[in-house]
């Protein structure tokens, strides 16, 4: 269902961080559970990009996404002992991050009914047109209902199966499929109107 070895799948190099993981994740988990801080730091590097990316697309704000990712990883550290296998980590982190995003969205809605201005991570070099399209996509995502947004992000962006996404979101696979189909249709309609 989840493959942790294939977790880092972002395009483009990230400077300043070693991309290679010297130890297998299972060994890192065992060492992290014994209190090895270095092992824990190596272990979270398997998941932190995904968490930031997912949270950013859920919330539309990179700064909020960083907070959510950080909180998820701190909670992961506090609950390290409950994990017997590396395969259990990714779904758990996704679930925590999604819940934190929902809390953040609820907090926002208490103060303002306006959608947040979606931020796209700044790029040192890139095509302006592609950036504009990305910004448009982010805005389109923010217009989706929160549950449909979560479903389409897990399915289409994170590449999870409907069953895995349903497990994370606490709904059935069929519900996920319906939500994703609805979200795709809404996205396409809104984007076509805007272009």
């Amino acid at each position: 269902m989840f493959s942790t070895t294939a977790v880092p799948k972002f395009a483009g190099p990230i400077s300043g961080f070693a991309e290679s993981i010297p130890d297998p994740p299972a060994e890192l988990l065992v060492r992290a559970k014994t209190g090895d801080q270095t092992a824990f730091e190596q272990l979270i590097r398997l998941f932190d990009r995904q968490l930031i990316r997912l949270s950013c697309r859920m919330l539309g704000q990179l700064s909020d996404a960083e907070d959510v990712a950080q909180e998820s990883l701190v909670r992961f550290h506090a609950n390290l002992r409950r994990f017997d296998s590396v395969d259990e980590i990714a779904p758990w982190l996704y679930r925590v991050a999604i819940h934190l995003c929902r809390d953040q969205i609820k907090r926002r809605s208490r103060w303002s009914n306006e959608l947040p201005e979606a931020t796209v991570p700044s790029r040192t070099e890139g095509d302006l047109e592609v950036d504009q399209r990305r910004a448009l996509l982010m805005r389109a995502l923010q217009r989706l209902p929160e549950r449909e947004r979560a479903a389409i992000l897990l399915r289409d962006l994170e590449g999870l199966t409907a069953e895995a996404a349903g497990e994370i979101l606490g709904v059935s696979a069929a519900t996920v499929r319906v939500q994703v189909a609805s979200a795709r249709a809404k996205l396409k309609l809104w984007l076509e109107q805007k272009l």
Binding site: F10, F17, L51, R53, E66, L73, V74, P121, R134, K188
Partner: protein, 148 residues
């Protein structure tokens, strides 16, 4: 290539999938996690030290109380421990004069006597007894030696 080609398929989010996470953002998250875990662990260690100190203090206090506390009191004589012949129910507390009781009444008085109070007079423990017999003073006092 048309301008809207990128929408002409069922995967409009493909463009977002290609996007990378900014390195500074990643660095902030990693640094934040490391800092919060470090702070948490420091607090945890301090809490453990404080708890251990408090436990040690309480244990020390308990030992000191045990070692330096007051001498344990002598066992208080109870009515059950006092031999019946030593009970002198035939004296009035007020007059110190013997109360005339028939032998059976005296036996009954001894049997029914119950402790209602005690106090120390010199080396003697004075028990205040109630005989429960009408005509015999409720304040009848028996003077016995303590814990012989």
């Amino acid at each position: 290539m048309k301008q809207h080609d990128w929408l002409d398929h069922d995967d409009p989010l493909a463009l977002l999938r290609e996007e990378s996470v900014p390195a500074d953002s990643l660095a902030r998250v990693r640094a934040g996690v490391a800092e919060r875990i470090s702070t948490h662990q420091t607090h945890f260690v301090w809490w453990r030290i404080m708890l251990a100190a408090a436990a040690a203090g309480l244990a020390g206090l308990a030992i000191l109380t045990w070692r330096l506390g007051p001498e344990p009191k002598m066992p208080t004589p109870t009515l059950a421990r006092i031999p019946v012949p030593q009970l002198m129910v035939n004296r009035s507390v007020m007059t110190e004069r013997p109360i005339r009781l028939k032998p059976m009444a005296k036996t009954r008085a001894v049997r029914q006597t119950r402790l209602i109070g005690k106090y120390q007079v010199g080396e003697q423990t004075v028990l205040k007894l109630s005989t429960g017999i009408a005509g015999v003073s409720l304040a009848a006092v028996s003077s016995v030696r303590s814990s012989e």
